[in-house]
């Protein structure tokens, strides 16, 4: 055999690369960024978890306060303590349904949430679910500082998707081109090493340092961010697979560029341009194309329709209630008493009617969101930074798909609450509970207020989450492997201009 064996040269290169200060500057900077990113997201999610705990505590305090009032309203009416209006009476089932239901839908963070902030800093993780709010909840929340939203949160996902490739570009771009720029490559080439072997061993040696240090730093950063590894083991392994594939992808890209043995300026220029295209240019272009292919339903049009529908429903409220009662055999006897029905009871008929009239807008918005999600999946395969970002968010539980699940479940929860409360409220129209004797301050037609279940989000299993990112992980490994092989194959000859 002519020239060195791969193993001999690799061992030599690995030792020499490990002695390079530049490599350690890059790796330490990356490790510090991992720690900062994971810590940042961990702290943010802890604050959100504490806020959710605060919400649950507020619910408990509300229930306790309500019970105290309910007990006090059992007292007989006296001149100085008259009957309480129904909207202030938790013992009145219709008053309770509209004015005392204080339930929340909460989206808890998953064990690996510090891996990626995803949309957890943009989309709300908790809603107050009122019985009669259209479609489940008000889509308003406290806006963050727009500047913060524009820049995005410095999270571990950002470091992995955007800074890790820069670190790889710098390491490969500077450590592989060193001989070229120093004028040593001719002497290297004049020995009997094939360029493919030389490039392959140098890149493999760099990779053999970077990949384990990145994985160890990732583990350390997640540990510092209080991730329980035993609770998040499947997702953690999948994250390693994704990051490993992403490293291989950028190694493949670097191999293609470096196969022509450019100098550092040429290599960094080309790799920087590829990074810019993949990380910024193509996602922007993709976003423009996606929005031109599938235009989002107008939010303004929806608000306009909502106002018009609300006005129309209010104008026709008696007729709507009458029709609804007429359609119900159990209520039909009360058709003539519509005027006597209180506002909260009327809402049990008017809100579903309003939702029915606006349902086409909601359906269009949901269809658009699903279409965009499908486009995002395809874009992820074509533009790997997008795919990795989505994959990490999926494993962290901060992705768009889990948010949609949360919204769907929150809406289902509201319908469940309606299913519990609407029947007793409406039954009062035809079969009102007799007034107590002597007259009490409260109506006392709702004796048990602990009839509402607590929202508990049903999540996919860790295996399902992990399986969701596997095709993309395999794609990254495949693409990276093919590009690396092409790059090494392309380095078949030493360049003539040594």
């Amino acid at each position: 055999m002519i020239g060195p064996r791969f193993v001999d040269l690799f061992v030599w290169e690995w030792r020499q690369v490990g002695r390079t200060p530049l490599l350690w500057v890059i790796l330490l900077t990356l490790a510090a960024s991992f720690l900062w990113g994971a810590g940042n997201t961990g702290a943010f999610h802890n604050a959100q978890t504490q806020a959710q705990a605060g919400t649950r505590a507020a619910e408990a305090a509300h229930r306790a306060s309500m019970e105290r009032r309910a007990i006090s309203y059992r007292a007989p009416v006296t001149p100085d303590k008259p009957k309480v209006p129904y909207w202030q009476d938790p013992t009145n089932v219709s008053g309770f349904s509209q004015y005392f239901v204080f339930q929340h839908a909460l989206k808890p963070h998953l064990p690996l949430s510090p891996l990626a902030v995803g949309i957890s800093d943009l989309a709300p993780g908790q809603f107050e679910v009122k019985l009669n709010t259209g479609f489940g909840f008000d889509e308003s929340y406290d806006f963050e500082n727009p500047r913060g939203l524009a820049l995005g949160r410095f999270d571990l996902g950002f470091v992995l998707v955007y800074l890790l490739p820069i670190a790889l570009i710098l390491a490969f771009g500077l450590l592989v081109t060193f001989e070229r720029d120093r004028g040593m490559l001719q002497l290297v080439a004049a020995q009997s090493t094939r360029p493919q072997l030389w490039l392959g061993t140098r890149m493999a040696a760099i990779l053999a340092w970077i990949a384990p240090v990145v994985m160890a730093s990732l583990l350390l950063a997640l540990g510092v961010a209080s991730v329980s590894f035993s609770d998040a083991l499947p997702e953690l392994l999948a994250a390693f697979l994704l990051v490993g594939g992403y490293i291989l992808l950028w190694t493949g890209i670097a191999a293609l560029v470096l196969s022509r043995m450019p100098g550092a300026a040429g290599a960094l220029g080309m790799l920087g341009a590829i990074w810019t295209a993949l990380a910024i240019g193509l996602p922007l272009l993709g976003s423009i194309l996606a929005s031109s292919v599938s235009t989002a339903p107008s939010g303004i049009a929806f608000i306009n329709a909502q106002r018009q529908t609300n006005d129309a429903v209010q104008t026709d409220r008696d007729a709507i209630v009458r029709r609804a009662i007429a359609a119900r055999p159990d209520l039909r006897v009360a058709q003539g008493d519509v005027d006597k029905i209180d506002h909260a009871t009327r809402l049990t008929f008017l809100v579903p009617e309003t939702e029915k009239r606006l349902s086409q807008f909601r359906a269009a918005t949901a269809a658009h969101a699903e279409q965009q999600a499908r486009i995002a999946i395809v874009a992820g395969y074509l533009i790997p930074p997008i795919g990795l970002q989505a994959g990490l968010a999926t494993l962290a539980g901060t992705g768009e798909a889990r948010q949609r699940q949360f919204l769907i479940q929150a809406r289902a929860y509201q319908l469940r609450l309606r299913g519990i409360l609407y029947p007793p409220v409406q039954r009062q129209i035809v079969d009102p509970t007799p007034d107590s004797e002597p007259a009490t301050r409260g109506r006392l037609n709702l004796t048990d207020r602990n009839i509402l279940p607590v929202f508990a989000m049903t999540d996919d299993s860790p295996a399902t989450r992990t399986a969701a990112v596997m095709p993309f992980a395999v794609w990254l490994w495949l693409l990276g492997g093919v590009l690396a092989a092409l790059g090494i194959r392309r380095a078949g000859k030493w360049p003539p201009d040594l």
Partner: protein
């Protein structure tokens, strides 16, 4: 075709941008023979060396190194060639010994520290410099490490590109000794140079290259220093 020759160039030509940089060049070197390729800048000396090293592929002609076709098997041919560039650049963070071991490894030879020290001493590098990083080595010291790299390869053909350029008289003299020693061991040496004085001292044959053509070829012993200079100038201005 090779008659036991270490290097055979047979009617080699190469074009760059429509210009015939090497024009029908033929050359044959026997074992132990030192051949000096003279010529001004741009005459094609370095291109000739790059063709022999396989970095360039000729448009026509044949290149045989120790029986190996340099065009179809450049890596196999390079295994038989030791090369000393005009300026030897080394890994500054490595010691002389480490540099030597690295380049020897690239040539497929694993050498121990003791062997590396012996080769460096043979090349004329002082023992105290063997374990020092090469970042502060002078050009002459780097050249000596380059010589040791060439010796470590134990090749059949030694290519030297302007080997004495920028060296002081002592270092240039050491290099001449090394060339003679290599020749004595049976190594064929092809040196591209401007240095007429050194050529006269070490070369057995010399050829004058002008615009890619070998315009004259002489036995070095048959020509005096003054005559050589006159011939060189005459061939360049003719």
């Amino acid at each position: 075709m090779d008659d036991g020759a270490v290097l055979v160039l047979d009617a080699v030509s190469i074009n760059f941008n429509g210009r015939l940089t090497i024009n029908n060049l033929s050359l044959k070197l026997k074992p132990g023979e030192v051949y000096a390729l003279l010529g001004p800048n741009g005459a094609g000396k370095t291109t000739t060396l790059n063709l022999i090293l396989g970095f360039l592929t000729p448009d026509s002609g044949a290149i045989i190194i120790d029986g190996v076709d340099g065009i179809t098997d450049p890596t196999g041919a390079r295994a038989r060639i030791a090369y000393l560039p005009e300026t030897v650049m080394l890994h500054p963070a490595l010691t002389a010994i480490e540099n030597l071991r690295y380049f020897a490894l690239l040539a497929g030879r694993k050498i121990e520290d003791a062997t590396a020290r012996r080769l460096l001493s043979d090349a004329g590098l002082q023992a105290e410099a063997h374990g020092r990083r090469t970042s502060d080595f002078s050009k002459g010291m780097r050249q000596k490490v380059g010589v040791a790299i060439a010796l470590a390869k134990d090749a059949r053909l030694l290519l030297l590109d302007e080997p004495t350029s920028g060296l002081d008289a002592g270092a240039a003299n050491d290099l001449s000794d090394m060339i003679r020693a290599a020749s004595t061991r049976g190594m064929a040496v092809l040196m591209a140079t401007h240095d007429l004085f050194r050529v006269k001292n070490v070369a057995h044959r010399l050829g004058i290259l002008r615009e890619g053509r070998l315009v004259d070829e002489r036995d070095a012993a048959a020509i005096g220093p003054v005559e050589l200079e006159e011939l060189y100038l005459e061939k360049l201005t003719a």
